[in-house]
Amino acid sequence: MNNKSKKTIKLLSTVALGMFIFSFALVPLYDVFCEVTGLNGKIELKATTEKGLENQDGRDISIQFISHNNEEMPWIFKPSEEKIKIKTGKYHTATFYVRNPTSKGMVAQAIPSVAPSNAASHLKKLECFCFEQQELAPGEEALLPVKLIFDNDLPKSIKNVVLSYTIFDVTNYKDAEMNQHQNSSDYQEDHVMEPSI
């Protein structure tokens, strides 16, 4: 085999290896892409730090709350109010009722999604039960709060926003690993965009 062939083989093997690495790079790229373009209705899983969102020039919109249980998740999970009328530029607190009907303690994680998706980047949350895992003892119930605001730049065509939460059973889901992720600030930096369902 001559040197020219060896060089070609090296180059081509690098391409193959590079594409394998690229396939894994697609995972963060996908998140970054959604973040930059605001596609997919994903919203931030951390409290907003923006100031000055509040003002008096807001307009009327309505928010509809929807809850889902993933797979076999046995918890009772529903919004306290299904639809509320709010003004943009003003904080509102809504609550979700949750109960663990089973005889064992369980841990849950809620994942939000917004429709229409172009409303997602205008929704800010000061606090949300989805920012952390929720643990309930057997039979325990709770009211989970979410404090949110829509900024005034919300496109005029949007008069009704749907905010949906899906809760996942993460009890057996490598607790240590999850907690580690949840607590590290890196995790929140890297995963600004969380998945929609």
Binding site: S5, I9, G18, M19, S23, L26, Y30, V170, Y173
Partner: protein, 528 residues
């Protein structure tokens, strides 16, 4: 045989080894090509048998023959076997036989790796097919193996499926490296890139596509493996992943894969049409540019498989227009083939019949592809039998007809014997008629709303499904005739000349039929 062996500087064995070791240890591109083609044919029959199980179940509405669970396994394995076992190895086999002979090289550039990339395939398919006998059954999530069907809800055998995909990917990557190195470095003096025959060109482009996307497929199945066994959450929303991400990664591989399965067919068709039209191919360089642009565009259209998954309007428009853009270079190719035949002195031997059928039926498949590319229309067509009809039109009378055309075209060269023209014509007409009986009605039931991937269907689809099943069994039976014709040709027949065809062009027709075990040990001169 030994009479035609030329002496060789470094090579001290003259001609092939005896017995089974010839095939196990061979580094000869012709032997390996033959192995690939036979493996592909075996897989074609196995995958075909699975298709017939599917069609038999769909002969009448209601559940008659198999359990829904087994139906899903047949559906999944049929797709995987046909894509990775039948079409891809057949093209690699043709590349092994033809690329070195068409560029005037003595062999593939990396003969030992060539042996390896073939011989890991039987293991991969044994692993894949063995899942049928495992507890929980074979993979049942469709050939696209969307997460979470293939992760959270998968049968335990999914790990074996992942392993076999890894082996298949490794084989394809080695094969494509081999093809590229051969083409880039071993061309005969005087053969510039633009003078290369179109089959070689089509394979050069295909090999680059393989090299770019097979590692992505490997990445996708590795992520699945980690999700299933190592507690990661690439595709699990509960842990911060996203199942939609799987579909993006899969189709980033999957769409170029579609062109991997059709580009070599374009090359084959070009050779056959120019030969039997007794004219030089119209627009050689435009063919090259068309294939290159199709290959490049194939990387930016993947989400047209996912219009209904949920995407912003801007993305849907982009993927719609990018997809429709592919019709332009494809149209150039069809135009060139027709222009080659225009005022040609055409004769209709079996390879030409298959090639013309390829052009006509592939174009039908292309048109239904354009219909599917229209986003709003796709919401209607998505996951119906219209899609099934579309991709079977581009794959069966597309890729598979081109492979059969290639076998009829080059088998006199490979074996030194002419095939039986009468039987060849019979095989063509049986295949041509039955393939249309099978797949054309699927357009109609699809447009009427019959969903794909179910073992049962509503009563109003009964008549056309029955027709489709009859066609499928006819098509299956015709391929037994094909096997018979190939075996008959291998055993004997009218002796073929070196040129074989009246107007054959290219270096492979300058060596005798069958070619000596080692061809072009001294490079030929190319001065066209």
């Amino acid at each position: 045989m030994s009479a035609v062996i030329e002496s060789h500087e470094q090579d001290h064995h003259h001609g092939p080894r005896k017995g089974i070791t010839r095939w196990l240890f061979t580094t000869n591109h012709k032997d390996i090509g033959t192995l690939y083609l036979w493996l592909s044919f075996a897989m074609f029959l196995i995958g075909g048998a699975m298709a017939l199980v599917i069609r038999a179940e769909l002969f009448e509405p209601g559940m008659q023959i198999v359990e829904p669970e087994f139906y899903n396994q047949m559906l999944t394995l049929h797709g995987l076997i046909m894509v990775f076992g039948a079409v891809m190895p057949a093209f690699v086999g043709l590349a092994n036989w033809l690329v070195p002979m068409q560029v005037g090289a003595p062999d593939m550039a990396l003969p030992r790796m060539n042996n390896l990339s073939f011989w890991i395939l039987p293991f991969a398919f044994t692993v894949l097919l063995s899942t049928l006998f495992m507890e929980g059954g074979a993979p049942n999530f469709g050939w696209t193996f969307y997460a979470p069907l293939s992760t959270t809800y998968a049968p335990p055998s999914v790990t074996f499926f992942i392993f076999s995909i890894h082996i298949l990917g490794a084989s394809s990557i080695m094969g494509s490296i081999n093809v590229i190195v051969t083409i880039m470095n071993l061309r005969a003096p005087g053969m510039t890139l633009m003078k290369m025959p179109l089959f070689v060109w089509s394979w050069l482009i295909t090999a680059y596509l393989l090299l770019a996307v097979m590692p992505v497929l490997a990445g996708a199945v590795t992520m699945m493996l980690m999700d299933i066994h190592f507690g990661t959450s690439f595709f699990n929303a509960a842990g911060g992943g996203d199942p939609v991400l799987f579909q993006h990664i899969f189709w980033f591989f999957g769409h170029p894969e579609v062109y991997i399965m059709i580009l070599p067919a374009f090359g084959i068709t070009s050779h056959i049409i120019e030969t039997f039209s007794r004219k030089q191919l119209f627009g050689h360089s435009s063919m090259v540019w068309a294939m290159t642009s199709i290959a490049i565009l194939s990387f930016v259209v993947w989400a047209h498989h996912m219009f209904t998954v949920g995407m912003p309007l801007a993305a849907e428009l982009f993927f719609m227009w990018a997809t429709m853009l592919i019709a332009v270079p494809t149209g150039v190719k069809v135009f060139n083939w027709v222009a080659t035949m225009f005022k040609g002195s055409i004769s209709y031997e079996t390879p030409m019949l298959f090639a013309i059928a390829f052009v006509v039926l592939f174009t039908i498949g292309g048109f239904s592809g354009l219909m599917l590319a229209i986003t709003p229309a796709d919401f209607q067509y998505h996951d119906t039998y219209f899609v099934v009809a579309h991709f079977h039109y581009v794959l069966v009378p597309g890729s598979i007809f081109a492979i059969m055309a290639a076998v009829y075209f080059w088998i006199p060269k490979w074996t030194g014997n002419m095939y039986d023209e009468r039987l060849g014509q019979l095989h063509f007409w049986l295949s041509f008629i039955s393939v249309n009986i099978t797949f054309f009605p699927q357009h109609w039931v699809g447009l009427a709303g019959m969903p794909r991937r179910y073992p049962d269907y509503a009563l109003q689809f009964a008549d056309w499904n029955m027709v489709s099943t009859v066609g499928a069994f006819m098509f299956g039976a015709s391929q037994i005739l094909f096997l018979f014709i190939v075996l008959k040709t291998v055993m004997g027949g009218k002796k073929a000349t070196a040129e074989v065809w009246e107007s054959s062009r290219g270096l492979e027709w300058t060596v005798e039929s069958p070619p000596p075990y080692h061809t072009f040990t001294t490079p030929p001169k190319v001065n066209q």
